[in-house]
Symmetry: C2
Subunit: 353 residues, 2 copies
Amino acid sequence: MKRFWSERIRTLVPYTPGEQPKDRVFIKLNTNENPYPPSEKVLQAIRDAAGEGLRLYPDPEAVSLRRAIAEYHGLQPEQVFCGNGSDEVLGLCFYAFFTPGKKVLFPDITYSFYPVYTQLFGLDHEEIPLNDDFTLPVDRFLGGNGGVVICNPNAPTGRTLPLSDIRRILNANPDVVVLVDEAYADFGAQSAVELISEYSNLVVVCTMSKSRSLAGMRVGYALGNADLIAGVNCVKNSFNSYPLDRLALAAGEAAIRDREYFELTRNMVIKTRERTAARLRDMGFTVHPSNANFIFITHPQVSGKLLQQGLRDRGVLVRRFDRPRISEYLRVSIGTDADMEAMCAACEEILKG
Amino acid sequence: MKRFWSERIRTLVPYTPGEQPKDRVFIKLNTNENPYPPSEKVLQAIRDAAGEGLRLYPDPEAVSLRRAIAEYHGLQPEQVFCGNGSDEVLGLCFYAFFTPGKKVLFPDITYSFYPVYTQLFGLDHEEIPLNDDFTLPVDRFLGGNGGVVICNPNAPTGRTLPLSDIRRILNANPDVVVLVDEAYADFGAQSAVELISEYSNLVVVCTMSKSRSLAGMRVGYALGNADLIAGVNCVKNSFNSYPLDRLALAAGEAAIRDREYFELTRNMVIKTRERTAARLRDMGFTVHPSNANFIFITHPQVSGKLLQQGLRDRGVLVRRFDRPRISEYLRVSIGTDADMEAMCAACEEILKG
């Protein structure tokens, strides 16, 4: 019907998140969740905060959480913005830093929420085709635009840009914001956070959904110089004063402070990833080098569609994007060793098929 | 500096939430929080959900929560949208239903976030002056506009529009959305929810922050016909797929299902409000009739500014809006009987001078 819809949302095409099955139990390798539970310290912090205080609004400035994040990254609290998951943080950053009529650049194959934000906020963008091996054509990002967005490691390919290339892009774009989305960087990429002191045009966006096992709590954040962070705050305070509830604030702070558990679990994911990649290569899969908690794979003998369906039939959910250039690929999140063993066994069965 | 800020946020004036003091303990009557804790069933639901499952994304459709809300209001789940507090829900509704160039109407004295949303989203609006007694000039809202927003009971006045007037406004605006913000309706106003089956242009926005004692958990929702709700969903899914975390979903569902506790606590607030209003009137205050969990008061012998400062000096926080027509007024949230006793005693002291 759309009778009462505003004119500008009639053509809006929303982002489609990965399936959250409710009917049966799957080995869930489709939304890049962490296979390990949150730290026990996080659960304790939530239990401690789940009391009478919930009748009161949360701290709209998230001071305590921002202080903990700043300490972790060696920054000042004024350089930290916290939001309701990195999706909200990214959306607010797009609105804060990019201006209609000036093209924002990002790759053709990347996080598919970026073009949705530009559409929502009436921004213009240009999708730069990745090279055939899914590496980034850095030369195409060197200026003459209204901003740059790089997901690093990139989703859904897992490919990583070295810091030297990020530097080249920052140097060539001194008057616009370069946003580096590091949702997956904790799984092996070099973070651009160390460049924040050098570049006033750099914003790095992080999430606790992946490497901190907190997808269920919606905690994301942006890092950058205080002037940039003030801009995101201005937009946030014009939309929703309190995006993080009291339990999310408590959980996020406990998660960022528990370095030991973080190191333990991310290293387990990294080891499982490398073991799985090796095994799949032995089975004839092309597996792109990944520094994320997923791998991007294709097989010359089975179509992406059949492989995804075959895995689903065997109780394993993975994600496939029905888009040009990558429709034959599957993005497989890294689960436990047992999850990946089951996934590999299912692949073997399908290949024998 | 604002060097890298997008052109359109350079003049944006964000909403200012009420103070959340961190330094000392106040009797906090400044942000319309509920003085009673959330239901024990809510706290238990949170504890039950605070486990391993937090590593997984929440349900982006909030199916279970929406079902519970629909049952409570006698609607279908397709008629319910859930968001991160009613502020987010309102923002998404403004974007979904109002079109740039067509004036949205709301009163000059109302929730001060409304003009912020119109600024953020590039919308036009007209502020219709309330009558001198802060009642709504209904005739000024009867058509020729791009939408209507009515906070009922109104904030910060507490004044309520009868359903017959809401009907008149709905009848006179058949081609645009009439949004009724019922954040405070549970404290004594007649809800417009019963009109949803009759009017396809009606959206009612509710929150669990006030009457459900859950300001700390950020749960708000919109009710309307399925086509309108689909519009809000379209915007939400273009901004943030998962605005409610797993604990907020669990808390919200438990809260809406616990009718007994809800009735008990809202009736306590209502009784305390009436008792406080009577006492303040005896002290010479003008107290507007209120169906909300706050009262709007002024005194002929003390300025609003001095009264607010005097209360603060005595450990009581209340809210004053330094805006035309209402700068002599204080908005006082209803606390426990003891809170209000302390507040009234402080007023007596101040009046004695």
